[in-house]
């Protein structure tokens, strides 16, 4: 079965082609094609998962794609437990999101195109997950970037949307630069693009530790871009301009997790470089904290979720940096289910309220019961409440951090507290309390079945998906997906209790402020106005980048073009031309007065003499002939006599 896994990404690709070339005019059919394709992929992925569960080894299938001297580029697949899990995550979320989109995007003028892009994205993401070498993963890495760009800017009539798409593409591509250079550095040193071969080479010491660290950090740059880690995190909140299901699929569950997946995939390399792992862990922890703090004060429901995503991705990255292959990917999996759920829930709310601002919502529990319940379940899972999915995965990370370095555990707990707080701030404001915008409230309604059913399924997953990783299970997630030796840490009850307490206190604080109103949010805001302002403006990162990178770059471009290219180089060229023209003008004068003067002088002399002799010239041909004839006769006569 495994050798046919290449079919998994092919179904969505086929569906993309079908929609673009044949069914673009038939929206209903297009959506069916797209969903059918991803359902097939899901089926195949499921079979792959079952196969791998039965025999958890790493299998590789490859063909030669391009022969370069001393360098083979392959097209291939690498299937191991991690791949199998990722295949499931991608196909399930993609399928549910596509079903949901049928309701959410109903009536959109570019409905078919939307589904074709989703198919293209699913294809690229599945290809990325299956890649067995650096070249291939980079190709799909860029392709998911492209589809992300297309989908963020899907409603491109909105300037903010097209801006956001552009920003996302360019920001992630900046990270990809580092990724690319890292790939070059690593692969040209070890002489292969293939993951497995490269790992063997690295393990056998084919690359010096300095170079290894450097290339590992550079490659991590790609993950920083894609997974929106500090300092390239700025694109993800803006990416919320895209349709909400897209945010759920691409910017919460799958594509942004690609960075995490990349680091996990290259664990063999990071495991060998302590400094690189440390950089990864610090960036992850810092981002987790930074983004969570921004999320505390945002008012746009999707932006809160976006910052939450960044924060959670930081969590995963931190886990990987600490060597937690299992913990990081486990959290990736659970996070995919509950964050997709939260985004789709938010989408459901936005669909009925036509606003993103949480302060225009309120009391929605009464109107949209399914959405509200599933959303709250998702929030609980994200906050890490026992016994939901998020609890187990978060606990795994905290346990790991505690064993490796307590500072990271502290950061983790702080982030957990903030997470619980901002999620329930959102829940209390949006779903409880009084309706703030009566008009919108009256028009609110529960979303159609096609949207709520995916919510329910995802809610189910958010609750139970984490159970595969319950630490007491003898054959759980950590024995299935692991790296080299089993990192099985003894479960720590105290930590579990502390984590739960922290999460509950976060929820309680949100309850007190936003539900009971015992502590006034306004007064808190005024009290800490400078901090609030800083957080509300996202630490001014956008402004900072604008001032130190983007504007100078445009200025430089303008300078180079107007001042340098036109002003210097072209000026020199034109100056050379003008100088030549000047020279020729000068020589013309010289010609006229000196050379021509001499010539003309000669001419005058000749003319003077000519004037005398010209009398002879009658202009009559026959006169000349007469002269010639008699001349000849004269000569003959002279000769004779």
């Amino acid at each position: 079965m495994l050798p046919y896994s290449w079919l998994i990404p092919c179904f969505p690709l086929l569906s993309f082609a079908l929609i673009i070339f044949f069914t673009i005019k038939k929206p209903r059919l297009s959506s069916l094609v797209s969903i059918g394709a991803v359902a097939l992929s899901f089926l195949f992925s499921f079979i792959v998962l079952v196969t791998v569960l039965g025999n958890p080894v790493t299998s590789e299938f490859k063909i030669n794609w391009l022969d370069l001297p001393g360098f083979k580029v392959e097209a291939g697949m690498l299937i191991d437990p991690l791949t199998a899990v990722m295949l499931m995550v991608v196909t399930i979320v993609s399928m549910l999101v596509q079903i949901y989109s049928v309701g959410y995007m109903a009536g959109d003028s570019r409905f078919s195109r939307y589904f074709s892009f989703l198919s293209l994205f699913t294809f690229s993401m599945l290809g990325l997950v299956l890649s067995n070498n650096f070249f291939e993963i980079f190709i799909f890495w860029e392709l998911v970037g492209l589809t992300s760009y297309l989908l963020i800017g899907f409603w491109f009539e909105k300037k903010t949307a097209s801006d956001a798409g552009k920003k996302a593409f360019i920001t992630t591509r900046t990270g990809d630069l580092a990724f690319l250079v890292g790939i070059f550095l690593l692969t040209t040193t070890v002489g292969t693009l293939n993951f497995q071969e490269a790992f063997h080479q690295v393990e056998s010491g084919a690359i010096s530790s300095t170079l290894l660290t450097l290339s590992a950090i550079l490659i991590f740059g790609g993950a920083v871009g894609k997974s929106a880690q500090f300092p390239l995190h700025v694109w993800l909140p803006d990416a919320m301009e895209g349709p909400t299901p897209v945010s759920a699929l691409i910017h919460a569950a799958t594509m942004v997790a690609a960075g995490v997946y990349l680091v996990a995939r290259l664990m063999s390399i990071y495991a060998l470089s302590v400094p690189a792992s440390l950089v990864v862990a610090i960036i992850g922890a810092f981002t987790a904290f930074l983004a969570a703090s921004i999320a505390l004060v945002q008012n746009d429901i999707k932006r809160v979720l976006a910052y939450s995503t960044i924060s959670q991705l930081g969590y995963m990255i931190m886990a990987l940096g600490l060597g937690g292959y299992t913990a990081g990917t486990f959290h990736l999996m659970t996070h995919a289910s509950f964050k997709a759920l939260l985004f789709l829930g938010a989408g459901s709310v936005i669909h009925s309220m036509h606003t993103n601002d949480i302060w225009e919502m309120g009391g929605l529990y009464l109107k949209m019961r399914t959405t509200a319940i599933t959303f709250i379940l998702g929030s609980l899972s994200l906050a890490g409440i026992f016994p939901l999915s998020g609890f187990w995965s978060k606990d795994e990370i905290l346990l790991l951090a505690l064993n490796k370095s307590p500072i990271f555990a502290l950061v983790g707990l702080a982030v957990a507290f903030m997470t619980a707080f901002y999620m329930f701030r959102l829940c209390f404001i949006a779903f409880y309390g009084k309706a703030r915008d009566q008009h919108k409230f009256e028009h609110a309604h529960e979303s159609p079945k096609v949207m709520t059913v995916p919510l329910v399924i995802l809610a189910f997953l958010s609750v139970f998906a984490g159970w595969v990783g319950i630490p007491w299970l003898s054959k759980g997630y950590s024995t299935f997906v692991y790296h080299h030796e089993v990192h099985h840490l003894e479960p720590n009850f105290i930590l579990m209790l502390v984590a739960t307490f922290v999460a509950l206190s976060g929820i309680y604080l949100a309850y007190v402020i936003y539900y009971k109103g015992t502590i006034s949010a306004e007064r808190l805001k005024n009290r800490f106005s400078s901090i609030h302002k800083l957080l509300y403006n996202k630490y001014y990162f956008d402004e900072l980048y604008n001032a130190i990178i983007i504007r100078p770059l445009f200025k430089l471009a303008d300078f180079l073009f107007k001042k340098f290219d036109l002003g210097v180089i072209d000026w020199l060229v034109n100056a050379a031309g003008n100088f030549t023209v000047f020279l020729s003008w000068f020589w013309e004068l010289f010609d006229t007065y000196v050379v021509d003067g001499a010539v003309n002088g000669l001419g005058y002399v000749v003319r003077g003499t000519g004037a005398g002799i010209r009398k002879v010239q009658t202009g009559q041909l026959q006169n000349y002939a007469f002269v010639i004839f008699f001349g000849i006769v004269l000569i003959i006569l002279l000769k004779i006599f």
């Binding site: 799909f140 492209l146 300037k159 552009k166």
Partner: protein, 489 residues
């Protein structure tokens, strides 16, 4: 090979010129179709060339050799190897498509097509000639029709552009002539046969090589163009009519690179090694500088023109590395840039014909009004900015991975060009195709079937090479290995 296929490819367009000249100038349709026919035949022949090319050897194939001016040792010597076959194919393809794209020329049609076919003769000849005398003749033959094509059918500043182009290129050609003479008088016995000169190259003194290399380099650098000899390019590209811009970007720029690979590397191996680093630095400047300048452009065509400067930098970088992968990347980039930029110019022309402006800021939201055009344009922009799966990516990747072991820092910096390229293309896409629809363009019509026909083959090839590059890589490998071997020993 008894059938002189190369001669046919070169001189069938010449028959086309005669055919066009014989027709009366009122018979516009006949002139168009005759030109299309006479540029289509070389395309068909080029398929034979591709099919019969034996990629296992680096020796010249399809050779034709006849004495011509025995007293000077000049021969009529044609041949093709892995380097010239793809270029001949590209020339035949782009010429044919450009002729089709030129059907909308209304002014002095007869002369236009006659000049155009003459241009094709010159281009084919340059890629097939193996005798310096012949090479130089074809090289100069291209110049004249190009001058008139820009100068008569060009845009508002056509005279300036045409003269600038002509003088710039002629300036370079003169140096090449000096170089050719220097080689002629150094060789024993005196010869202009390129193959002969290559085999004698190891005998040349280092000092001599260093000097003559520069003479040839000037000629080729102006053609490529390499910074700081690039300023003719934006003027010529922008002022030239669409089809001529396509040829300029698609073929003429490649001649500089072709010359470097055909002449400079094998004939001056010591100099090539000596100048590798400066060349790589120039390449870096080309890439980053060209890309930055693109960002400052308001005129769509000028942006595409400057993007060529940037993209040619990758070629130079690949050459300077002197590794087989790098040089293969260079040839890939030549081929792929010909496809992509050719198509971009065609598409810019399509829009200009309708809107009569190329100001990027003047448009907006065109994707709503003309979705097919926008889709195709965005596809080619993606190709140009190096999206994986399209040919531009393969070539950039090969150039980078080929030159990285040699110039680590330079490549790391050159990668910056990739992001800047993405930035200016996305900025252009956003301003023109996304955003709210500018109702000023309500009357804009969708791309026509004929226009679509001119870009579809390019799109297919772009995707084909991007997805399955092996055939092209196999075709060029033996030849390039030989060239690199000649230099590095």
């Amino acid at each position: 090979m008894s059938f002189p296929i190369l001669s046919y490819m070169i001189f069938i367009p010449f028959l086309g010129i005669i055919a066009v000249l014989v027709l009366r100038k009122e018979q516009v349709q006949a002139i168009r179709w005759a030109s299309a026919l006479f540029s289509f035949i070389p395309l068909v022949l080029s398929f034979f060339l591709l099919a019969h090319y034996d990629s296992s050897t680096s020796t010249m194939q399809f050779v034709e050799k006849h004495t011509w001016i025995p007293s000077l040792g000049v021969t009529y010597f044609l041949g093709a190897d892995g380097l010239s076959v793809p270029m001949l194919f590209l020339t035949a393809l782009l010429s044919f498509l450009s002729v089709i794209a030129s059907f909308n020329i209304k002014f002095r049609v007869k002369e236009y097509f006659a000049f155009f076919l003459l241009l094709e003769v010159g281009m084919m000849g340059v890629f097939a000639a193996l005798d310096f005398f012949l090479f130089y003749i074809f090289w100069e033959v291209m110049l004249v029709p190009m001058y008139f094509l820009i100068g008569i059918w060009g845009g508002p500043r056509k005279e300036y552009a045409a003269i600038k182009f002509f003088l710039y290129t002629l300036f370079g050609s003169v140096f090449m002539l000096i170089g050719i003479l220097a080689l002629y008088f150094t060789s024993q016995p005196h010869t202009l046969n390129m193959m002969e000169l290559i085999s004698q190259a190891p005998l040349l003194g280092r000092g001599f090589q260093l000097i003559v290399f520069v003479a040839f380099f000037l000629a080729f650098a102006i053609k490529v163009p390499i910074f700081p000899f690039h300023t003719w390019l934006p003027d010529a590209h922008v002022e030239a009519p669409t089809a001529v811009s396509v040829i300029l970007a698609g073929i003429l720029l490649k001649m500089g690179i072709y010359g470097l690979l055909r002449v400079s590397l094998p004939m001056f191996p010591k100099a090539a090694l000596y100048y590798a680093l400066p060349l790589a630095l120039l390449a870096l400047i080309n890439i980053v500088y060209g890309a930055l300048v693109c960002m400052a452009q308001k005129d769509l065509k000028k942006m595409v023109a400057y993007s060529s400067v940037s993209h040619m930098g990758y070629c130079i970088l690949g050459i300077s590395a002197l590794t087989v992968t790098g040089v293969s990347g260079c040839v890939f980039q030549m081929f792929s840039h010909g496809l992509i930029t050719g198509a971009l110019f065609l598409l810019v022309g399509v829009l200009y014909d309708r809107a009569h402006t190329r100001d990027i800021d003047a448009f907006g939201g065109l994707w709503i009004k003309i979705p097919v055009y926008s889709g195709v344009m965005i596809l080619f922009c993606m190709g140009s900015l190096g999206l994986p799966g399209l040919s531009g990516f393969i070539s950039e990747f090969m150039v980078f991975i080929g030159s990285f072991p040699v110039f680590k820092v330079i490549v790391a910096l050159a990668v910056l060009g990739v992001v800047i390229t993405a930035a200016y293309f996305l900025r252009m896409i956003q301003k023109m195709f996304l955003g709210t629809f500018n109702t000023k363009w309500e009357a804009l019509t969708e791309i026509s079937g004929r226009e679509l026909f001119t870009v579809i083959p390019l799109a297919i090839l772009m995707i084909g090479v991007g997805v399955y590059p092996s055939p092209l890589a196999d075709m060029i490998r033996a030849t390039l290995e030989n060239i690199v071997h000649l230099v590095t020993g």
